[in-house]
């Protein structure tokens, strides 16, 4: 099939594909593959964390007690809710709702994402700073199991930090999606960017679903 045989292409169609269906499949597979990469990326960190936790169990339990569960729990709820609003944004595009509706859900998702980061910064990391719980930078902890607690806090900051970076990237993507929606780039025929960005957003959410119990909860049971 030559380029000419197609006539008018739908919006967002890229030249290297034969039809929009192929493009949509490619985008979806690309994002899933990327998420597999991300699982291995966080996986290296999770593995290290779990190994050190097993090696230094009492210290890591002690470390876990430095975190405040209610903020972690609030943030978990915020993120789960943001996944819902993201899904609703995609659903609105799929069913051909007005662009105002799509933008509403996208912006609500962004607000929730920003709220997550705000809670993390203001009530958790800032407090860690004031209490001297930041290893290598601002460290005044002198309770029991000091070296192990330091190791725990290291992994806490690496893991939640990496996760927060992914959230910020997600907010950037959402901004682009809002602009694209406002410029009528999407329709019930073509909404791939929304769909695959949604996959990413849910993935970042799921990472937190694992981080929350690993860092905040399992320590409390001993």
């Amino acid at each position: 099939m030559s380029e000419l045989a197609h006539g008018a292409h739908p919006q967002g169609f890229a030249h290297q594909f034969e039809d929009i269906e192929q493009q949509r499949d490619a985008g979806r597979l690309g994002m899933w593959t990327f998420l597999v990469t991300e699982i291995l990326f966080f996986g290296g960190m999770f593995t290290s964390y779990i190994i050190y936790r097993l090696l230094h169990l009492p210290s890591f339990v002690q470390g876990s007690h430095q975190l405040i569960v209610k903020f972690g729990a609030t943030n978990t709820a915020v993120l789960i809710f943001s996944s819902l609003t993201m899904a609703l944004a995609i659903r609105s595009a799929q069913t051909g709702k007005k662009k105002g509706t799509i933008i509403f859900w996208l912006i609500l998702t962004m607000i929730l994402g920003a709220a997550f980061i705000a809670i993390k910064l203001r009530f958790e990391w800032y407090r860690d700073w004031t209490e001297g719980l930041i290893p290598g930078v601002h460290w005044f902890y002198n309770g029991p199991h000091a070296p192990g607690v330091k190791m725990f806090m290291c992994f806490y900051f690496f893991m939640t930090g990496l996760h927060a970076i992914h959230m910020v990237v997600g907010l950037g993507i959402l901004t682009v999606l809002v602009i694209m929606t406002a410029r009528d780039k999407f329709s019930s025929e073509y909404y791939s960017p929304l769909e695959i960005s949604g996959l990413y957003w849910h993935f970042v959410d799921i990472v937190w679903i694992f981080l929350f119990p690993l860092l905040y909860l399992i320590g409390g049971r001993y």
Binding site: L55, P147, M151
Partner: protein
């Protein structure tokens, strides 16, 4: 073959429009989305890295001509072998065949206009260049002396060289690998032409598919590992420091979880190239297509469960060692399947010995030696004797240089007429292939003996009795160096002065040979419909 070449010299002319002359100017290259041009951008950058890394190797071999060391202080020597390893592994071997030939050929071989994500493809190159620049900058501004493996606690606590910048460079370049692998996986799944079923794909595509799986699954882990190392160097929090509860062995586990599969990132694409070369120059269908295809996948899978064989003598549990030893032996099976199938393909083929074929045959022999000596190292008892000696150096150079680089050179010579539309002087190419083969063996075979006799690797000095073998090795290295410079000269020469190649100078099968050389920017005027299996030689249409 001589008649075929004679005919071809008069017949073909340069196609008027192609991807090389479609647009002009530096911007048209630096902002290109064409997979073929991006392949060439990679070719230029990794060639530079190859000669930088090669220069370090030549200096090391010069230094080792004398037992007390001829050139450097031991500290400088340490930086030299570290630079050589880091540049060659992360900035030449890993991207070599996938990013150049793979980028150029995947869409052509499967009948597509481009890779699935051309923008991402260009971005991969820029990421690679960023990583490579960081590594080069670190090398020039004082160097790094940890070896390419960055083992803590030396790298995290004691080394005062540019470890952080180099690790950052490798970290960054890793994302280029990940995105390239992702792009290839999606392209191979979704962009195949009508009729191009999985079992009609050229075996080069299968090999790159397996490679891409490792890119995507392995590289993120080295990224995290180097991130932890960098953080440890910056914050001194003791992640790998046993004094405060850290574990240096954890670094080695994470490092080899990527770096052992990375060995197969380097060799699998080479195996794919060799399957193409062997069939083209023996004019036969590959023997046991499905076996060769699945052996690539099984190598990729097994590669992820053998990393512990790098740690037999580091204090790993002996039972873990046993398991890793047995699993490592498993890799020999798919590797041997490939070697046997190539040999069976040669049997009763009508073989000709153009330069690419010389490289392919060299690959089979040298890879076999490299592979078999790997079994010595996978055995717990012999490994205790051989670990950390020149035996290991020789083993992995037989696989990486005798295998991967040989295949890369063979592939480059095979597809050069397609890439540039020009022929290079075949006689010079054969001479260079022979020089490389001889120089290579003279360099590395003595190292097997040195290692067996007990000369440790990474030392700037050695006892007097090892001098003869070391001088042999250094002599070989200078021959090898000349062997690599000759192709650089005649390939560049051929771009301007070589005779036009025509669409299919080798009479080879495969979609890439059905179109003009150099190809159009959009590759195919009309997307082809595939009706036959790969390597369908002997069904007419061949020119010999």
């Amino acid at each position: 073959m001589s008649t075929a070449v004679a005919e071809l010299h008069e017949a073909p002319t340069e196609p008027r429009v192609n991807y090389l002359n479609a647009t002009y100017g530096i911007r048209s290259w630096l902002l290109t989305l064409d997979h073929k041009r991006i392949g060439l951008l990679y070719l230029g950058s990794i060639t530079l890295m190859f000669f930088v890394g090669g220069m370090a190797a030549v200096l090391m071999r010069l230094h080792l001509t004398e037992p007390q060391g001829a050139l450097f202080e031991p500290e400088t020597y340490n930086k030299m072998f570290s630079t050589h390893g880091i540049i060659m592994v992360f900035f030449f071997l890993v991207p070599s065949i996938p990013a150049t030939l793979g980028n150029f050929l995947i869409p052509l071989m499967i009948g597509a206009r481009d890779v699935a994500f051309p923008r991402l493809n260009l971005m991969s190159w820029y990421i690679f260049i960023t990583g490579a620049s960081l590594a080069l900058f670190a090398t020039l501004s004082g160097g790094v002396d940890t070896g390419w493996t960055f083992y803590p606690p030396y790298s995290s606590t004691y080394s005062h060289t540019n470890v952080t910048i180099v690790a950052l460079g490798v970290f960054v370049a890793g994302f280029s690998s990940i995105l390239t692998g992702l792009n290839f996986i999606v392209t191979i799944h979704k962009m195949r032409a009508p009729g191009m079923t999985w079992f009609r794909l050229p075996l080069f595509i299968w090999a790159l598919y397996a490679t891409s799986l490792i890119f995507v699954l392995g590289t993120p882990v080295i990224a995290i590992t180097l991130f932890l190392l960098g953080m440890e160097r910056i914050l001194h929090v003791g992640i790998f420091d046993p004094a405060v509860g850290g574990d240096p062995l954890l670094f080695q586990h994470l490092f080899w979880f990527y770096s052992h599969p990375a060995v197969y990132i380097m060799i699998l694409p080479g195996m794919g190239v060799v399957s193409e070369l062997i069939t083209a120059f023996s004019r036969k269908k590959i023997f046991g297509y499905a076996f060769v295809a699945f052996s690539s996948l099984s190598i990729a899978i097994i590669s992820f469960i053998v990393w512990g064989h790098h740690m037999f003598v580091t204090g790993q549990s002996i039972y873990a060692g046993l398991v890793f030893s047995v699993l490592s032996f498993l890799v020999a099976i798919p590797s041997a399947v490939k070697v046997f199938n190539w040999t069976a393909t040669l049997y009763k083929g009508s073989i000709s010995y153009e330069a690419p074929m010389l490289y392919a045959l060299g690959f089979i022999g040298l890879f076999t030696i490299g592979g078999l000596t790997g079994l010595f190292l996978a055995s717990l008892a012999t490994d205790v004797h051989l670990n950390g000696t020149y035996f290991i150096v020789a083993h992995f150079h037989y696989v990486m240089v005798g295998g991967a680089v040989m295949a890369y050179m063979g592939g480059l010579h095979f597809w050069w007429p397609k890439i540039t539309g020009r022929l290079y002087p075949d006689l010079w190419a054969r001479i260079a292939a022979a020089i490389i083969f001889l120089g290579f063996n003279l360099t590395f075979f003595p190292q097997f003996v040195l290692g067996y006799l007990g000369m440790p690797r990474r030392y700037a000095i050695y006892p007097q009795e090892f001098q003869v073998l070391n001088v042999m090795s250094s002599a070989g290295a200078s021959i090898l160096g000349i062997g690599y410079v000759i192709p650089l000269i005649y390939l560049i020469w051929s771009m301007r002065y070589g005779p036009p190649a025509g669409p299919n100078p080798w009479g080879a099968k495969g979609l890439e040979w059905t179109i003009q050389s150099p190809p159009l920017t959009e590759n195919f005027e009309k997307i082809p419909i595939v009706t036959e299996d790969a390597y369908n030689y002997g069904s007419g249409a061949s020119s010999v």
